[in-house]
Symmetry: C2
């Protein structure tokens, strides 16, 4: 662990369920420290800090503004409902706080562009909280996909993220509220599907998105279940399905001309200490070779994410580095595809061209 002097001091805006996981991650990341939490009530903030391993010296603020006004906060983690992201991410950037923003990052790409512009003009780091990007398995899998000798040419990607929310979730959770998380399942879990597809496709944007029919929306028009197909000019095809109705699935399958990759827990490894993926190859019409590869994980993926974010922040804070813009680009590409899928649903499953 680094000394308290060199650790990046985090403030958390809001006491969402997911903030518990991130509090633990900040504790585990050697270069990060829990410094403050804010809620709309200081009692709630105090209770959260006490229950989630904050040190006794930590600050518990009764307003988000107060936390942002604390000059000792280096960076904020923003797990607020999506409809509040633009306001608070922009305010945080304006207070020179580096921004780790929960996904979906915004209600649409235009909002995200405002956030990214605020981060850029204030010289702060932006990163979205897509944790699995930081699991060591992700890099090992990417080596396979990038190896044309082993993997060949990428042709087909299929991704899912579903969970069965249950009756209470489907009625009361903020993720089904049009005022809080208007993108519903598409924003909450479809985000991962789209990111996984873009990741596999080396972040080349598809040209066209066509939503699958039979999406399910609640009475307020929030998506509870949907899917889409995506198309690239070189012939690549991807499909995904995301849902709040269906038992847990986190499947990613990538088919190449020489082998194929399968992982059934891509966004959240079922085992924190080690994760695997399967590679299937066949030579001619011979017996297929199926290999399972395991990748050890010293820290949970969310701690790896916090560590990477804090490393970038420390570089800016101490070494005069520029913010790494690539993370904003990945968020933006994900949001652009998400917007296109949403537009295709809104237009009765018409193809939507992704023009950038």
């Amino acid at each position: 662990m680094e000394s308290a002097e060199t650790q990046i001091r985090f403030g958390i805006l809001g006491c969402a369920e997911i903030a518990k996981k991130l509090s633990r991650a900040i504790t585990l990341a050697p270069n990060a420290a829990l410094y403050a939490v804010a809620s709309r009530s200081s009692d709630k903030a105090k209770a959260f800090a006490a229950a989630n391993g904050f040190p006794p010296s930590a600050k518990a603020y009764g307003s988000y503004e107060a936390l942002l006004d604390d000059p000792d906060v280096d960076a904020v983690y923003v797990p607020l409902p999506t409809s509040l992201h633009r306001e608070w991410a922009v305010k945080a950037a304006e207070k020179k706080k580096h921004v780790l923003l929960e996904k979906p990052v915004a209600l649409n790409a235009a909002e995200l562009e405002e956030i990214l512009a605020a981060c850029e003009s204030n010289g702060v780091q932006f990163m979205d909280a897509t944790m699995w990007m930081h699991h060591p398995r992700t890099a090992v899998m990417k080596e396979l996909l990038d190896d044309s000798e082993r993997f060949g040419e990428l042709k087909v990607i299929h991704s899912t993220f579903t969970f069965a929310g249950g009756p209470d979730f489907l009625t009361n959770n903020i993720r089904v509220s049009p005022h809080l998380d208007a993108l519903g399942a598409l924003g909450d879990v479809g985000w991962y599907c789209i990111r996984s597809i873009l990741w596999a496709a080396s972040y080349h944007l598809p040209q066209t998105a066509v939503a699958l029919r039979n999406p399910v929306l609640n009475d307020a028009g929030v998506i509870l279940s949907c899917g889409a197909s995506l198309y690239w000019p070189d012939g690549k095809v991807a499909t995904f399905h995301c849902s709040f109705f269906t038992s847990l699935s986190l499947d990613l399958t990538v088919l190449g001309t020489k082998s194929s990759l399968r992982v059934n827990d891509y966004a959240g490894p079922f085992d924190e200490k080690a994760a695997s993926f399967h590679v299937t190859s066949q030579f001619g019409f011979g017996k297929p070779l199926v290999r399972e590869e395991w990748v050890a994980c010293e820290l949970p993926q969310e701690a790896g994410m916090v560590g990477e974010f804090a490393r970038l922040v420390a570089g800016i804070k101490r070494n005069g580095c520029k913010p790494e813009k690539e993370w904003g680009v990945l968020s933006w590409k994900t949001q652009v595809v998400l917007d296109a899928v949403k537009a295709s649903i809104d237009r009765g499953f018409e193809p939507v061209e992704i023009v950038t």
Copy 2:
């Protein structure tokens, strides 16, 4: 093994590559026997019989007609190119031969209806050669899907069948010839995808088929790679992808509200002696439970298929049973969906309603 007296005597029409596998299957099935093979040249038929375990007494005919005229042939297996199915399956039925027909069964549902009508009016059994239907794993998986306590309600199905044919295959194989197998990859491997989807959906036909964009056709218009999405009135969604370009994949994923089923070799188990599938369940937001279930297989699935077909034939031949019509219904439903996908490709990926 049954006595030679009671075994069903098979004649094979044509010496296709797949006929080698079926010859072995007929040898392995206790209630079936290799009796005759026909080719357009008797030398070729003799060589095939000698190389594929036919008994010395077996007949090697230089024409398909001659085999059909042999009164001792009970049943024929027809591995001819698809464009010849209608002619020879109908002729076989008219000669009172029971018909085990390679897939795709016909170029379209109208052709298949002629074949089924000929089988019905001549009182012979029809079955298509979709081998995996007869693997014991298939029945065990179906028990899971049918168990609403364990599996819940079926929501999403995804299936693939791809293999990398290679340059010679893509140029010269009969499966890319417009005159022999005009349905290309959709008929050859898409057949399995569609059947697997219908199987999972308890053979309820989807209402709408929408082809995925980016299919690949050769200069003669034969499909080398394509996919589709399928929609049921109750909200179920299925997607599939089939291809001659992509490394081997035989994935079937079925997502229910309580658990999900995954199998990565559904149509052709990688191990002949035992095959597995994975069931993933999650209770609330707890840790997912992933279980691999193994099913032993005494005989290869194609021998199981031959055995089941021969059992039905024996019932008709000796006990006055009626032909089991269900197998023709399954073929017909598969072909109807295949036709709709083909129509959607032909119509620029428009939705095609499946009206029956």
